[in-house]
C-alpha cells in the first residue's frame, strides 16, 4: 500500500460523490475519510521509529524536463501529522454530516479535494510538489467559504476573497522561491536541476540567495498560520467559513505551514534560519501576545478560538525557531495538540450558537451549562487542554517549546511564558461566560445529542489519551527532529563558537 492511495483516495471519493449525487455523497465522504484514517493508522503502525530518512518512499518522474518528481515519503516529521490530518478530517466529515448543506455533492467534493491537498502537502518530498499541494489546499476552502459560509453573501465573498488572496500571495512568493532554490542550487553546484528536498539539503545555497528565498518561504508560511503582522485575513475569513471547514482549516492547514518550516526551511536554508532566527522569534512572540490579548478581548466565541490559534501558532513558531531538538519536538507535539483541540472547540462553538439563537456573540451566551452538564464537561476538558493545564499534552508541548527557547534565547522564553498565563485567562473567560453566569434570555439550554457526541467524544478521548501518553508522538519524531536541527545547530554552534572565541580574544 503506497502513500499515493492515502492521498488520492479522498479525491476519488469526492468525484464518486459528485457522480452518485447529493443523497449518497455525505455518507460516502464519512466512509472515505474513515478509510483514509485507517490507511493513515496503518502507516503509523508500520512506521519504524528511530530510523533515519524517509520511509514508504514513492519516487516517480513527473516533469522530468524540469527535474520535478512525484516523490512522497514519511518520516518522523510528518508521520504524526498525517494521522492528525486524517483524524481531523474524519471528525469534520462527521460534523458536516450533522448539518444540511445546499448542493451537498459539491460541498463534499471540495471537502475531498481539500483532504487530498492537505495530505499531499504533508507527504510531498519534492519542493514543487509541496508548493502545488500547498496552493491547491486553498481552492476548496475558497469555494467552501464562499458558497456555504456563514453570514450574508457580501461578507462571505469578501471574507473568502481576502483569505485566498492573502494566502495565495504568500504561496506565489514561495513558488518563485522554490524555483529559485532548485535553479540556483543546480547552478551553484553545477548539477542537474532537482527539487527533491532531501537532495536540496545536500546542495546548500550561497548566503545571499538563501536570505531572500528564506524570506519568501517564511512569508508564505506565516501568512498561512497566521502569524501576527500577517493575519489580516483572519477575522473576515474565520467569520465567514463554515464550521466543519473552519475546524480543518484551523486544525490542519495552519499545521502545514508550521510543518513547512520544519520540512523545508530549516534543512534547506540553515544559514538563513540562523540569520533570521531572532526576527522569527520576535514574530512568534508577537503572535503569542497579540493572539492572547485579542482572544481575551474578542466579543465572539469563534474569534476567541481564532485568536487563540494565533497564539498557539506563535508558540509553535517559537519552538521551531528555538532551533534545537527540544523546541522542534515541542512544536511537533503542540501541532498535534492544537489540531486536536481546535476541531472540538469549533464544534462546540457551533453547538453554543445553536443554543443561543444562532449568535456567536459572547454577550448573547451564558448559563448554557444549566441543563447540559455533559456538554459543559467536555467543553471544560477541551478548554483546559487549550490553556495547557499541567498534565495535558499541551502542557508537555509548551514546556518543551519553552525549554528549547530557554536554551536558545532566554529573553524570548521569559516573554513567551506570559503567553502561557494569558492562555488560561482567555480560555477560562470564554468557558465561564458561555457556560455559567445567568442564563441569557435568548439561550435555550439543552444537552448534546448522541449524534453530536459522535464528534466530541472521539476528540476528547484522543486528547485525554495523548495527555496520558505524550510519548506516543515524541518517540516517533525524535530522530527526525534531531536530524532536522542538526544542520542548523552546526551553524549556530559555529556562530557561538566564533563569538566565544572573539570574546576570548581581548
Amino acid at each position: 500500500m503506497t502513500l499515493s492511495i492515502l492521498i488520492w483516495l479522498p479525491l476519488v471519493v469526492a468525484v464518486l460523490g459528485v457522480i452518485l449525487g447529493g443523497k449518497i455523497a455525505p455518507k460516502l465522504t464519512v466512509l472515505g475519510t474513515l478509510v483514509t484514517l485507517g490507511i493513515a493508522i496503518s502507516f503509523v503502525v508500520r512506521f519504524k521509529s528511530g530510523e533515519d530518512g524517509l520511509q514508504f518512499v514513492t519516487n516517480e518522474a513527473w516533469i522530468s524536463e524540469l527535474g520535478i518528481s512525484y516523490k512522497l515519503g514519511v518520516d518522523g516529521l510528518n508521520v504524526v501529522l498525517i494521522l492528525l490530518a486524517a483524524f481531523l478530517f474524519s471528525l469534520s466529515a462527521i460534523f458536516a454530516n450533522l448539518r444540511e448543506w445546499e448542493r451537498p455533492q459539491l460541498f463534499y467534493f471540495w471537502f475531498g479535494i481539500a483532504q487530498t491537498a492537505v495530505l499531499g502537502a504533508f507527504v510531498a518530498q519534492d519542493l514543487i510538489l509541496f508548493v502545488a499541494f500547498f496552493d491547491l489546499m486553498l481552492i476548496p476552502f475558497y469555494f467552501l467559504t464562499g458558497i456555504w459560509g456563514s453570514g450574508d453573501r457580501e461578507t462571505r465573498v469578501r471574507g473568502t476573497q481576502k483569505l485566498v488572496i492573502y494566502t495565495l500571495v504568500g504561496s506565489l512568493l514561495m513558488l518563485v522561491a522554490a524555483i529559485a532554490t532548485g535553479v540556483l542550487a543546480a547552478e551553484q553546484h553545477d548539477t542537474d536541476i532537482t527539487y527533491s528536498i532531501s537532495a536540496l539539503q545536500q546542495l546548500p545555497l550561497s548566503d545571499g540567495s538563501q536570505n531572500w528565498i528564506f524570506l519568501c518561504f517564511a512569508a508564505a508560511f506565516l501568512v498561512k498560520m497566521p502569524a501576527f503582522p500577517l493575519h489580516g485575513w483572519l477575522p473576515d475569513g474565520y467569520k465567514a467559513m463554515p464550521l466543519p471547514a473552519l475546524g480543518v482549516f484551523s486544525g490542519v492547514l495552519s499545521k502545514v505551514a508550521a510543518y513547512g518550516f520544519l520540512r523545508i526551511v530549516l534543512p534547506v536554508f540553515p544559514d538563513a534560519s540562523v540569520h533570521f532566527q531572532e526576527l522569527l522569534l520576535l514574530i512568534a512572540l508577537g503572535s503569542i501576545l497579540y493572539g492572547s490579548v485579542m482572544a481575551f478581548s474578542a466579543q465572539n466565541v469563534r474569534m476567541v478560538v481564532a485568536f487563540s490559534s494565533v497564539a498557539q501558532m506563535g508558540f509553535i513558531t517559537l519552538g521551531i525557531f528555538a532551533l534545537n531538538e527540544d523546541g522542534v519536538q515541542g512544536a511537533l507535539l503542540q501541532m498535534v495538540n492544537h489540531g486536536l483541540v481546535t476541531v472540538p472547540l469549533f464544534f462546540i462553538v457551533g453547538l453554543l450558537a445553536a443554543r443561543a439563537g444562532g449568535s456567536e456573540e459572547i454577550r448573547d451566551l451564558g448559563g448554557i451549562a444549566f441543563r447540559a452538564p455533559v456538554l459543559a464537561t467536555l467543553f471544560l476538558i477541551v478548554s483546559l487542554a487549550t490553556l495547557a493545564m499541567p498534565g495535558s499534552a499541551n502542557f508537555a508541548g509548551e514546556f518543551l517549546i519553552l525549554l528549547g527557547v530557554f536554551k536558545a534565547k532566554v529573553a524570548f522564553a521569559f516573554f513567551a511564558s506570559i503567553g502561557v498565563a494569558l492562555a488560561a485567562v482567555y480560555a477560562l473567560r470564554a468557558f465561564i461566560k458561555a457556560m455559567h453566569n445567568r442564563v441569557n434570555p435568548g439561550v435555550d439550554s439543552r444537552e448534546v445529542t448522541f449524534r453530536d457526541l459522535a464528534v466530541l467524544i472521539p476528540s476528547v478521548v484522543v486528547i485525554l489519551a495523548l495527555a496520558l501518553y505524550p510519548q506516543f508522538g515524541l518517540e516517533k519524531t525524535e530522530t527526525t527532529a534531531k536530524e532536522t536541527v542538526a544542520q542548523v545547530q552546526a551553524k549556530t554552534g559555529q556562530l557561538t563558537a566564533d563569538k566565544t572565541s572573539e570574546e576570548h580574544q581581548p
Binding site: 522530468s64 448542493r103 508548493v131 496552493d135 464562499g146 453573501r153 485566498v164 512568493l173 518563485v176
Partner: protein
Amino acid sequence: MTSALVTAAARGPHIDWAGLSPLVALAAGGVLVLLVGIFLGRSAKHVTPLLAIAALAASIGLSVWQFGESKSIISGALAIDDLTLTLNFILCATGIAAVLLSWRSRAAQVAGHAEYYALLLLSLLGMLVLVGAQNLVTLFVGFELLSIPLYVLCAAEFRREGSLESGLKYLIVGSVGSATLLYGLALIYGATGSTDFAGINDALRDGEIAGDVLMLSGVGLTLVGLAFKASVAPFHQWTPDVYQGAPTPITAFMAVATKVAAFGVLLRLFDVALPTISPDWGPAVAALAAITIIVGNVGALGQTSLKRMLAFSGVAQAGYLLAGVVVGTQLGAKATVFYLVVYAAMNIAAFSVVIARERASIWGDEISAFAGLGRSQPLLAWPLTIAMLGLAGIPVTAGFIGKFYLIDALVSGDYAWLAIVLVIGSMISLGYYLRVIAAMWMGEPEAASEPAAAGPAAPTVAGAPGAPPIMAGGSQEADELVDGVQPEVLGVAWLATAVILFFGIIPSPLFELAGKAGESLTGIF
C-alpha cells in the same frame, strides 16, 4: 550585377512545396471557402464552416507530416521548423475553435459566411507566415496579412455600431503599429544591409554596427510595432475597446491567435536575428514586460465587462509571455511556447463560455450575466471556473505549470526580479479572476434581477445600475437570445478545459513539443 542576374535567372528560387504545404492548405482553403460560399447561397451557412474546418485540419495534418524537418524555404524567406509548426498547431486549433464558436454567431451571418470564414483563414495564413518569417519582408507581409482580415472581422457585424467602431479603431491603431514596425524594419535593413534574419545576425556579429543609433532605433521601433499587435503596455490601450466591440468569437480569436503569432515572431526576431545585441534590447524589453504585467493586472481589476476584463488579463498575460522572450535563452523560448499553448486553451475556454452566455443573457458580457451560473448551468460554469483558476496560475491547471516554466526560465536567465514582478502580477490578478468565480458560484442567479429589465419601469439609461446594458453595445448577441444548449460552444469549452487540466497534471507531452519548438531556434542556448 548582370552575372548575378543571370545565375538567379537560370534557377529561380527553389520552392519546397512540401514545406509550404501547411500554408498552401490555408490559402487554398480561404479561396475555396470564398468561392464556394458565394456560389452556394443559403446552404453556405453550414458548408463554409465545414470547409474552413477541413482546411484547418488539413493544415494541421500537413504540419504533423512536416514536423521535425527544419528547413528554410523559398531562399530563406520562411522557416518551416518545429517552432513554426508547433505554433501552427495552436493557431489552427484556435482557428477551429473560432469557426465553431462563430457557427451561430450573428457576425458570420451579417458579414456573409463565405467572407467571414475566408477572412478567418487568411488571417491565420498571415499568422503562419509571420511565425515562420525569417526575413523582414516576409515578416511584414505576414504581419499585414494577419491584421487586415482582422480589421474587417472586427467590423463584421456592420449593422452594429460598436462593431464598426471597434474595426475602425483597430485599423487605425493597428496601422500605426504596422507603420512603426515598417519604419523600424527599414532602419534595421539600413543598418545591416540585409533583410534576412541570418544576414542581420551576421552583420551584427561582424561589424561595428552593434551600438549604431540607426540599428538601435530600428530595433526600438520594431519592438514598438510588434508591441502594438501583442498588446504590450503602454501600447495596449486599444485592446479593451476593440475586444469589447468586436464580435465575441473574433475577440476570442484575436485574443489567442494574434498573440501566438506576435510572440512567435518576437521569439524568432529577437532570438535569431538580434541575439548578439541582446544586452541592448534586453533591459528595455524586460522593462516593457514588467510594465505590461502591472498595467494589465491593475487595469483588469475595475472592469465589469468580462470581455474587457479578459482583454486586460490578456495584456497581463502578454507581459508574462514577453518575459519569456526577454530571457533570450532556449529555455525562455520553450517556456514561451509552452505558455502560449496554455494561454490559448485557457482563453478559448473562457471566451466560449462568454459567447454561450452572451447569447442567452440580457446582460451580455457583464460579469453580472454570470451570477449564479454555477447553480443554473454548471456545465458552463465549470469551464470558466477552471479557465480563471488556470489564468491565475493555480496548481492542477496548466496555467500553474506554464507560470512555473516561465519563472524557471527567468530565474535561470538571471531575471529573478522579473520573476518577482510576474508573481506580483499574479497576485493582483487573483483579485479579478476570483471575482468572476465568486459571481458564478456565490452570486444570485440572474432570474432574480431580470424583472428589472422586463418591467415597464425599467430604467432605459444605458449603464445605469440595474439596467441591462444592451444599449451600451456590449451585448451584441443579445438581440437574438438563444436559450438552450449550444453543443458546439459547450464542446469547445469543455475540450479546452480538458486541455487545461490534462496538461496541468501530465505536462510532459507539451514539454516535449515546446522543447522541440524551442530547440529549433538554434542561434541561442
